[in-house]
Symmetry: C2
Subunit: 349 residues, 2 copies
DNA sequence: TCCAGGAACTAATGCGCTTCAGCGATCAAG
DNA sequence: CTTGATCGCTGAAGCGCATTAGTTCCTGGA
């Protein structure tokens, strides 16, 4: 190692003990709010610690039984799919707000596949790196909750749905089915009978929930409904392709619902190119609100939810779990439809 | 703490020692490739370790002098400014690729201000949490390199520019000045003489470099050049406002250069709304290429750079620093102009 | 035949912290 | 006035690993 300026040794509890004229144990008791020292000593120790700029070494702390003061967050998506989506960074912002209060760190990792993600969990567990993890993009037959349960690693599944109850892991979810129901109701009210849902990755839990909900709604509304879903990889490319395909069909839909903002914008562009006027010929809805929705003309109507708050809630649940609370399933507010300029009455047949 | 299923104790070196019938020290030697054990013993120990799924506890390792096996990454921007920008997640992807090879963790934090960022560095340092950090968004009179030098925390400044040489911290940068020069040259070639640069946050180092470069270029091209920069907060809102302002002026520019993709798209929309045809009346260039640039009509010409590679390079430099190498200043390839449909010859006066 | 020297391994120590078992001193209860 | 309990504190052990200082055994050179 090359010589760095001012090695700047970190102060330890021993330094505090010496300066305060007490034993190390007393320092530990004082600083951790444990009984065993008088109030005056406690206060004196605190002052010395502060004056020295002392902070506990997480490593030492962890080695003597405490946690790692860190939670893990893995996202398994290819780098390019990750890029444009505003969802993750917003979610992380919310998570951070809660973690920062407790001085917990966030260990973040991007991987390619769920298998890699599981490997990361195993490594983190074996290396004692994290006290708990936040899991996103749950899917059908997901190996992750089982693995985390096996490892005894507290976890919160984000977007899991009410069915995904696993002992030891909490779930935070939005009622996609309810949102889909009210969205379809509204489109019906506007006269739309042929609706296509351009969904995201097929095996994700919330994708499947939305698809199922759409089907249920269609059945509820009777036989004249002509609705269906197509799945994509969330990319603008597949969205445009899917849009061209469905709009080129015999009886094109009069309303399109996209599972994220990027796809909605790409779809809008594709539709416009094909000569469809929005919203006169075609209504377009994005299932994710962001600045993007107001960057295109016409402004996109969107299902809006508080993503930052979503992250906050998830992190809060993890905190509760780390504090020894029971695993729970909590629901965040249902996304609300913001009607802008891309939706309107269906053109009469 | 509630009972969790299968506490699943992590195996330690002691377990390995017992199973392999040797002392703990022998295990340590064997597993760390140090001399002191025979090849056969080494191999046996390795097998036992693997079989037990052993991984070194980072905490213990760290406590006995090794590093934390973690690097830190702080971004100081308000949550909403963060959202749409594809830059950060791409950068992180690149960083991760390098870190993953070495099994290093990435500790990530979002804060509001540079002061908060400094506080985070201090805390990380005092808590022994990271071996080094990656610094983004360097600015004029930046307190961060000094602080990190003082703490002896190896750091790589991303986007620092050649001037920001600090002992102990490396710099990875793109030649914005060169890119600006070739961009202006090209616009001149197309006949543009009135150019406005809608820049990002005023105090950021690369913003200032670009503004300075633009001025230099203007002087080089002589007195008939009418170019200037306006600064914003990178948001679509400020971009649209700035665009309306400059286009409403007496002699509106014939070319607009935006410091990121979101602003370019917002500016394009604003210009279109004011009745400017792109590229007939007005050329538009984005200083950041992303899917967004091909989501709008016309497709945006953009300065494209390999952001993932940028992250890779930065992480690589940090690795070199951690290995005891000297601080360096390395330059990544100059962004290249991808001419799509938003740029064309200036309309003759 | 004896010893130097190296190879292969063990024992002991320390990193910074928490925690548990003491241990005087003080104090209320019997 | 004695007995136990309680308070305020100290000493020591231990967490999982790296490392240094032994220790034992073996080999080869004289």
């Amino acid at each position: 190692m090359p010589a760095r300026r001012s090695p700047a040794r970190r102060p330890t509890m021993k330094d505090i003990a010496r300066r305060a004229g007490v034993s190390e144990s007393a320092v530990s008791f004082a600083l951790n709010g444990r009984p065993g020292v008088s109030e005056v000593t406690r206060e004196r120790v605190r002052r010395v610690a502060e004056q020295l700029g002392w902070r506990p070494s997480t490593a030492a702390r962890q080695l003597s039984g405490e946690g790692a003061a860190t939670v893990g967050f893995v996202v398994a998506r290819p780098a390019d799919t990750l890029g444009v989506d505003s969802f993750f960074l917003q979610l992380i912002s919310g998570i951070q707000e809660v973690l920062a209060e407790r001085h917990l760190g966030l260990l973040f990792q991007v991987v390619e596949s769920v298998e890699d993600e599981c490997a990361v969990y195993r490594r983190w567990w074996a290396e004692h790196r994290v006290d708990g993890v936040l899991v996103v993009d749950p899917r059908a037959e997901d190996p992750r909750p089982d693995l985390l349960g096996e490892l005894g690693l507290p976890a919160v599944v984000i977007g899991g749905g009410p069915d995904s109850r696993q002992p030891g892991t909490s779930t935070v979810w939005a009622d996609d089915a309810g949102a889909m129901a009210s969205l379809v109701d509204r489109l019906y009210e506007l006269g739309h009978r042929r609706i296509v849902h351009v969904a995201g990755l097929p095996r994700l839990a919330h994708t499947e929930r939305r698809i199922r909900a759409l089907r249920t709604e269609a059945e509820r509304h009777g036989p004249q409904a002509r609705v269906h879903s197509v799945t994509t990889d969330y990319s603008d490319a597949e969205s445009a392709a899917a849009t061209r395909r469905v709009l080129g069909a015999g009886e094109p839909p009069t309303a399109l619902v996209y599972d994220n903002d990027v796809m909605a914008v790409a779809g809008l562009a594709a539709a416009t190119e094909l000569g469809f006027a929005v919203p006169a010929d075609l209504s377009v809805v994005s299932w994710e609100d962001s600045a993007l929705c107001r960057l295109v003309k016409p402004w996109l109507s969107a299902l809006s939810r508080d993503t930052v708050g979503f992250g906050r809630t998830a992190a809060g649940e993890l905190m509760a779990l780390l504090d020894g609370g029971p695993a729970r399933t909590v629901q965040v507010p249902v996304p609300r439809l913001i009607e802008r300029d891309s939706t309107g009455p269906a053109r009469p047949h």
